[in-house]
């Protein structure tokens, strides 16, 4: 027990790569845990992964960056509703991605740190023998490094959503955007 606490505190004090490694290892452990195998364990598996992801991802920062200049026009309640909706959409997307995990290799590459910001490059070798480059952008919040953007093969998630949101906002209203987001999250669409 003591050792586990010691290990945990070491990784907290570590850099952004350690942060990513910790969360990745945690999720892989959940996905490969034999007691969590099978479709009947799916809700419990999802709950645990969601928890691990929540600890590492900064949904507020992500929401802020995707709404960009539209963020400041939003009231406090609008903001928290947006964070909740956008967060659960991303979480669901992420969950579906990792659910299909089947022993892909994760290789840790360069790490860059500048002040509060960190950039971690990871290579994923798929079962089909292709390499996928993933970059995590992190920012310190208190003692922890939190992820605020993921780029897959150079395609940044935040930028991609920002384009979609601004395109929707240019044609219609914020309420419409939130409605679209809500129906996505609730799986109506």
């Amino acid at each position: 027990m003591l050792i586990m606490i010691a290990v945990a505190s070491v990784s907290m004090a570590g850099g952004p790569t350690e942060a990513i490694r910790e969360t990745t290892d945690k999720i892989i452990a959940i996905l490969t845990d034999p007691s969590l195998k099978g479709p009947d364990q799916e809700p419990e598996r999802a709950r645990q992964i969601r928890k691990a992801v929540d600890e590492r991802f900064d949904w507020e920062e992500m929401s802020m960056r995707t709404l960009a200049r539209h963020w400041k026009d939003r009231s406090q309640s609008e903001r928290s509703e947006f964070i909740r909706l956008f967060g659960s959409l991303l979480e669901r997307t992420y969950l579906e991605k990792v659910e299909s995990y089947s022993g892909e290799k994760v290789l840790y590459g360069d790490e860059k740190v500048e002040g509060d910001y960190g950039l971690v490059t990871v290579k994923i070798i798929t079962k089909q023998d292709t390499e996928i480059q993933v970059q995590y952008r992190l920012k310190t919040k208190g003692a922890a490094w939190l992820v605020y953007d993921i780029s897959i093969e150079g395609v940044s998630l935040v930028n991609n959503y920002r384009k979609q949101f601004s395109s929707i906002l240019a044609r219609s209203s914020y309420n419409d955007l939130v409605e679209k987001l809500r129906s996505k999250v609730e799986g109506k669409e």
């Binding site: 802020m64 960009a68 509060d116 150079g154 930028n159 979609q164 949101f165």
Partner: protein
């Protein structure tokens, strides 16, 4: 005797058609570039060369500037905040802080899409084509051919189009990449059983050089022009379509199998094989996106920028 006639006919038919497509695309690309330059108050078509030169010096200037900025940012990471960033976030109250590996430039500009109605129509077409044809065929194929076999077939086609990558390397002055591609081709075609195995990467650590003619055009300062979503081909740009047409001449398959239908057969086989490995990706994009068309357009743009940078 009879076997030769269709060969000749097809060859005579295919070459001028290809040439026509290539020329039309190239001309429209040049006109687009010229128009874009004229709109920006820049030089026209006649001074294209000087404009490329000017862009090159401009690019060097930008790199120098960016470098010195990074250095200042390193010394003073918190205070550095470009006006662009403030404008983009528009959030002075709760500053986001500069993103040191800023995508801010990328996020501000995006690919022009004046043909959006047409593109959206083709997007719907491709969507149906995928769900009604390629996905069922790919799924069936996947059930019949084991994964190892599909990887080998993919490797074979990848190895075959080595000239595209090699020439693209040379045209960008990437001589090391050119050499790697040549060695890869020799090694994989022999020790790798006609390219079915990528031994050059696995044993010699010579990775594939991800270069194409679209990237070559970008290297010489040609922008994407405008976004295109083409039937069957999907997301592209004017520049990358020109590159793709040029690549038709560098694809050995067209010289080895020059009869029309067998050629189409091989190409479709390649596409189905590749599709079988990517089932689920498009569905995931659609499911995660609020506007799949815009999501695809931006993903294509960002993906190409990343490729060009390398």
């Amino acid at each position: 005797m009879t076997g030769l006639t269709p060969f000749k006919r097809d060859r005579f038919l295919v070459v001028p058609v290809k040439l026509l497509i290539w020329l039309t695309t190239l001309i429209s690309l040049l006109v687009m570039t010229a128009l874009a330059d004229a709109a920006g108050g820049g030089p026209g078509l006649s001074t294209l060369e000087t404009s490329i030169l000017a862009r090159e010096t401009e690019a060097h200037e930008l790199i120098r500037l960016a470098y010195s900025e990074t250095q200042t940012a390193e010394r003073n990471p918190q205070k550095e905040r470009s006006p662009q960033e403030v404008k983009e976030t528009g959030n002075e109250g709760t500053p986001l802080g500069a993103d040191p590996w800023g995508d801010e430039e990328v996020s501000v500009d995006s690919i022009p899409d004046p043909l959006e109605p047409m593109n959206r129509a083709f997007f719907v077409f491709n969507d149906k084509l995928y769900f009604w044809f390629f996905k069922p065929v790919g799924t069936g194929y996947k059930m019949v051919v084991p994964e190892v076999g599909r990887i080998c077939i993919r490797n074979f086609f990848t190895n075959l189009i080595m000239p595209i990558r090699a020439i693209s390397c040379i045209l960008q002055g990437k001589f090391e990449g050119f050499g790697i591609e040549l060695i890869r081709f020799v090694v994989n075609s022999t020790a790798g059983f006609l390219g079915f195995q990528d031994v050059a990467r696995d044993a010699l650590n010579y990775p594939i050089q991800d270069e194409d003619l679209g990237q070559v055009l970008a290297f010489y300062g040609i922008g994407p022009g405008l976004y295109l979503n083409l039937p069957f081909l999907g997301a592209s740009s004017l520049r990358d379509t020109a590159g793709w047409v040029g690549e038709l001449y560098l694809n050995p398959l067209d010289y080895m199998v020059s009869d029309f239908w067998p050629n189409v057969g091989f190409r479709s086989f390649d596409v189905v094989n590749k599709t079988s490995m990517r089932i689920g990706e498009y569905e995931a994009l659609k499911k995660a996106a609020l506007d799949p068309y815009v999501a695809m357009r931006d993903a294509y743009y960002q993906y190409r920028l990343n490729q060009i940078e390398k």
